[in-house]
């Protein structure tokens, strides 16, 4: 029943195996091809590595084009971020991820420390109105610990949910898991960084759901969250009640619902992003010809709104290529989750895949007006070393899962 690579041949083929088989690609065979079986290549998960590498290259191209017109978008710094990220990823890949499976307490403490770092006097650094940055002493580089906290949270949630082995039977257990997830979520909200908080919430929830939570509880929880969110928004908009959301967050929501409310103010970014994307057309305007991003109409064109820049320069073709690469990478990660043995390994992959999916949805979605504006970077594309390093770390984690998967069934 088991191959030497730990892939259970007898296991009923998954939906993806069947779909890919129809397309002439055999997912399971991919891992057991001659190329992978022998030599160094067998230690890397090509199905994830190829789209990931293409994304990094694509991102570098986009940032290089942005650097032509936006002085802040330093191409060299972007390359430095990639190099640092590759080092971190390689280290993660070499390292056996499974040692984290029973390090729940360590991970929790690490998570909390990362979240609290910016609050340490002398380390905290203000950027874009958030306190979520720290400045590394002596070096002077700034980075965002919450980016790394996302990865730690994945490991944390996977380690604790994994112990349930796919079945979370009692309400008490379920509530305990939700409570653990709330720790990093609430800490991030206090920074305040609603965007990262939402990512943590989504990836944690994905891990809990895939880890075997009862559907009924999940639905009830979602219901409570929806009602709670409405209550928060309504309270923030009503005179006299506590304003939990900041005014700018509220404005973003209002503008998301009706962009024409204030086209010069809060609606401006959204409007400009949509114009950039839409005017890109099928083939795009070409590198260096993006009038929206290149002439400063599109703010944050190299960071939060990088997708709008990409869509303007590379058009529908480039946008779809990006979606394709993400889709490939995410499905490959989910595919890996299907094939590895331990619940911890599966859930780590789930967390990474959920993170990428949500960040893709949020970042691309806000540029095209289907999600409210939040400061979430587009993985592997946006300018910013913290994001690049943490995303490559996540990729390294997936590769580590591949490399250190059980060799026998």
């Amino acid at each position: 029943m088991a191959s030497d690579q730990g892939i259970r041949e007898s296991e009923p083929q998954s939906f993806f195996d069947l779909v890919f088989a129809r397309l002439g690609v055999n997912l399971s065979k991919m891992g057991t091809s001659k190329l992978q079986r022998n030599g160094y290549l067998s230690k890397v998960y090509l199905m994830e590595l190829i789209p990931n590498a293409l994304l990094v290259l694509f991102g570098a191209l986009v940032i290089w084009s942005a650097s032509l017109t936006i002085p802040e978008a330093s191409f060299l710094r972007h390359l430095l971020g990639i190099v640092l990220g590759l080092i971190v990823a390689a280290a993660m890949w070499k390292y056996d991820y499974s040692v984290f499976a029973d390090k729940f307490t360590f991970l929790l403490v690490l998570d909390i420390v990362l979240m609290l770092l910016p609050a340490v006097p002398g380390l905290g650094y203000n950027a874009k109105g958030m306190t979520g940055w720290i400045q590394v002493p002596f070096i002077g580089m700034t980075f965002q610990p919450s980016e790394f906290a996302k990865i730690v949270t994945i490991l944390l949630m996977a380690s604790v949910v994994g112990t349930y082995n796919g079945k979370i039977d009692t309400l008490k257990d379920y509530l305990k898991l939700c409570g653990i997830l709330c720790i990093p979520f609430v800490l991030i909200l206090t920074q305040p960084d609603l965007g990262t908080g939402l990512i943590v919430l989504v990836l944690g929830a994905s891990i809990i759901i895939c880890g075997g939570a009862k559907a009924r509880w999940v639905l009830i929880t979602v219901g409570i969250i929806v009602v709670g969110a409405f209550a928060v928004v309504a309270s923030s908009m009503t005179e006299g009640l506590p304003h939990i959301l900041k005014q700018y967050q509220l404005n973003r929501l209002i503008v998301f619902v009706d962009p024409s409310v204030d086209p010069a103010g809060n609606g401006y970014n959204l409007q400009q992003a949509k114009i950039a994307v839409g005017s890109g057309g099928f083939f795009g305007k070409g590198i260096g010809h993006a009038s929206q991003a290149g002439s400063g109409f599109l703010p944050e064109a190299h960071t939060d709104f990088v997708f709008a820049l990409l869509a303007e320069e590379f058009g529908f073709l480039g946008s779809v290529f990006l979606l394709f690469l993400f889709g490939w990478m995410i499905i490959a990660t989910v595919g890996l989750a299907l094939r590895v043995d331990t619940p911890f390994a599966k859930l780590v992959c789930v967390g990474v895949a959920a993170m990428w999916t949500f960040q893709l949805l949020q970042n691309v979605g806000m540029c095209i007006g289907i999600m409210p504006i939040t400061g979430i970077p587009l993985p592997f594309i946006s300018f910013g070393s913290s994001s690049m390093m943490s995303q490559l770390l996540a990729a390294g984690l997936v590769q580590s899962v591949w490399r250190h998967r059980k060799k026998s069934g």
Binding site: F15, Y164, G278, G280, L361
Partner: protein, 680 residues
């Protein structure tokens, strides 16, 4: 959007089909399971395989969720980048395209021989964004650079008269050094730019200031009006445009104002021009050729100012104001029009300062912006007597045989309401002709009494109106006053707070009107037109300052002003002759003094003086002449306010104007005082 909607629906169907496919491949034991329910808990060593299967189905669910996210994004991108591409492209273009309007040079204003009274010159202007006012250091630096106090610079920047959002003019006509310094230190002068603008220039200085008027920045009212205008080809103003605000600049704004050009440019988000695109050249405004003769205008202005100065420095300290008009009675052309005190139109260039504006509006300044030749309203005084005479002849109140006896004290309405003739000693035996020559009030009191006692007393007012008194002349300048011919109805309605007996029209009102005093008000231009009618035998041309319009673009064609007849008054030639003979006698018979002044002219002159009484003021001096007396070409109308010498002072200006016209200057230097008062 309909196409994209269809595409989204198709994609949803595709997703459902994929889900169906999945169910198809997982039928039987491998059914989709999201929850296992009822299984033994992990702690009791439950079924491991089913737990595995739960994770498996949920992982597949996660994969499907990811795919559907990507599908939604794909569908939206399809709709935006393929279906609605043109709409967004249009918005992107309008984002980066700005249209800079290119100001068209304003037409020049020339005198009748083509001398440039108003021209254009380039002016280096410092422009500031409104926010600069908040930057104290920058304001101070700018003030030091252009030599203005910082407070003044800030006031200029805060001045919103050019529109709240528009850039502010800080200084005009700055030196090249200033321009170079600002250019070399852009970081010190953020928000400050230097533009080369076209400014009005006045080669003759103040010459004919009241005729040419001045320009200013378009006002909000004018902007709104031009935006509302539905006229084809009407000028649509933009904030900051220079428009005529007075005089010919205002009257012929549509001619002088050019048609702006447009330059499309591509800009970045901060408005910096990246590249130039298409352009439409501006079309210059047309030149205006005036009927004004610059040398004559200069002579008249100099004389008027000189005489007023002499009066002020000798006998009447309050004497500051007056006007003089020289017109061609054969076609209505205004050859010269002066008003005193005057102003320099140059102070309006680049925006008049608040201080200058208040100074021009103040009580002490005697309203220098007012063109007294057309807006000044005075009792006509004795200059009305020719028309009273004609009215009397016409209505049978008097005839060429009528005789009067002037004792200096007239008691036609009884001793209690007796009135003096201006000559208290009395003129003795008078007729209509000598009545005009000596301006004998008694003659005209009798005429006034005659009208009062006639069946149709207001025939007097009707005749005066027929000659155009109390009526607009329709001169092509803004701000003309209408004057007033009082009658019974007017008096009753005007003095509403007085007792009824005081509101009634009385005999004294007629005697006052007959000598041009009391409630009567006329303007110098009205009197000029009336005398022009006398001079030509009844035909009055509409007075005008426009001679022709010269286009500066294309063929440079010239359009001449087409003179119009304002009115034609038909009078018996015999009546007119009596009056003309009287007016000639004013020069030749009344006094040696007047005669000596006019002897040196190569032509005979007909004239009438007048002394308008104003309660609480020194009298207003009138002197109206036309020449040659028998075949008139020119009429000269002079008024001086607060003139103690009375009409003598206006006589000098009048004589100087005729001297300039006929190149025969007055050889007698005007004496300062002790002159016999000439006929009132």
């Amino acid at each position: 959007m309909s196409l994209s909607t269809i595409i989204i629906i198709l994609l949803v169907i595709l997703l459902l089909a994929l889900a169906g496919l999945y169910v198809f491949y997982n039928r039987g034991d491998e059914k989709l399971q999201f929850d296992i329910g009822g299984q033994a808990p992990r702690a009791s060593g439950g079924n491991d395989a089913s737990a595995e299967r739960t994770i498996r189905s949920r992982l597949i669910g996660l994969g499907l969720a990811s795919l559907s996210v990507i599908t939604v994004l794909f569908a939206r991108l399809w709709s935006m980048q393929l279906v609605s591409k043109d709409e967004y492209t249009t918005q992107a273009e309008s984002n980066r395209t700005r249209t800079i309007s290119l100001a068209a040079p304003r037409g020049r204003i020339l005198d009748r021989s083509g001398n440039e009274i108003v021209g254009n010159r380039p002016s280096l202007t410092v422009i500031s964004k409104p926010e600069v006012a908040d930057n104290a250091i920058e304001v101070q630096l700018l003030g030091n650079l252009i030599g203005m106090p910082a407070a003044a610079v800030r006031r200029k920047i805060q001045d919103q008269s050019e529109g709240a959002q528009s850039d502010r003019t800080v200084a005009s006509d700055v030196s090249r050094r200033v321009v170079a310094y600002i250019g070399e230190h852009p970081y010190l002068f953020e928000g400050i730019t230097v533009q080369e603008r076209s400014a009005r220039s006045y080669p003759y200085g103040k010459l004919a200031a009241h005729v040419v008027g001045y320009t200013g920045t378009v006002t909000r009212e004018q902007l709104e009006e031009s935006a509302k205008s539905e006229d084809e080809g009407a000028i649509v103003y933009e904030t900051g445009d220079t428009v005529g605000q007075a005089g010919v600049e205002f009257q012929y704004e549509n001619v002088l104002q050019g048609i702006r050009g447009e330059q499309s440019v591509h800009v970045d988000a901060s408005g910096t021009v990246l590249e130039y695109s298409t352009s439409v050249e501006p079309q210059s405004g047309s030149d205006i050729v005036l009927t004004i003769d610059a040398p004559l205008q200069q002579a008249v202005e100099d004389s008027l100012a000189d005489i007023i100065n002499r009066i002020r420095s000798s006998v009447s300290k309050k004497c500051r104001a007056g006007s003089a008009i020289v017109m061609d009675v054969t076609n209505g052309e205004i050859l010269a029009m002066a008003s005193c005190p005057t102003y320099s139109p140059n102070i309006f260039v680049g925006g008049i300062s608040n201080d200058d504006w208040s100074a021009l509006q103040s009580e002490q300044s005697d309203n220098p912006l007012m063109n007294r030749a057309i807006s000044g309203q005075y009792p006509s005084a004795s200059t009305i007597k020719p028309f009273t005479t004609i009215a009397a002849l016409d209505n049978g109140i008097a005839n060429d045989k009528s005789e009067y006896d002037c004792t200096g004290w007239w008691t036609g309405f009884g001793e209690g309401s007796g009135q003096y003739c201006w000559e208290h000693k009395g003129h003795g035996h008078m007729n209509l002709r000598t009545g005009i020559i000596y301006s004998c009030d008694t003659v005209f009191y009798e005429i006034g009494k005659g009208f009062y006692e006639s069946k149709n007393p207001e025939a007097l007012q009707a005749k005066l109106k027929e000659w155009g008194l109390g009526e607009l002349t329709g001169i092509d300048l803004p701000g003309e006053s209408v004057g007033r011919i009082p009658d019974a109805e007017w008096k009753w309605n005007y003095y509403t707070s007085a007792a009824d007996t005081d509101r009634e029209w009385k005999g004294g009102d007629f005697t006052n009107l007959a000598i041009g005093q009391g409630d009567l008000l006329v303007t110098p231009i009205q009197m000029g037109c009336a005398y022009a009618g006398l001079a030509t035998g009844g035909k009055v041309w509409r007075p005008h300052v426009l001679k022709s319009v010269r286009t500066r673009t294309g063929s440079g064609s010239v359009v001449d002003y087409d003179p119009q007849i304002l009115r034609e008054v038909v009078e018996d030639e015999k009546f007119r002759n009596i009056v003309i003979e009287g007016l000639k006698g004013v020069i030749t018979e009344e006094s040696e003094h007047i005669k000596r002044h006019f002897e040196t002219l190569p032509v005979s002159v007909a004239a009438k003086s007048g002394t308008g009484e104003r309660i609480g003021h020194n009298p207003t001096a009138w002197f109206i002449s036309f020449a040659p007396a028998d075949n008139a070409k020119y009429a000269v109308i002079v008024t001086i306010e607060e003139a103690t010498w009375a009409s003598t002072s206006s006589l000098y200006v009048n004589r100087d104007a005729l001297g300039a016209l006929y190149d025969a200057p007055d050889s007698i230097v005007p004496a300062m005082e002790g002159i016999d008062s000439i006929g009132d």
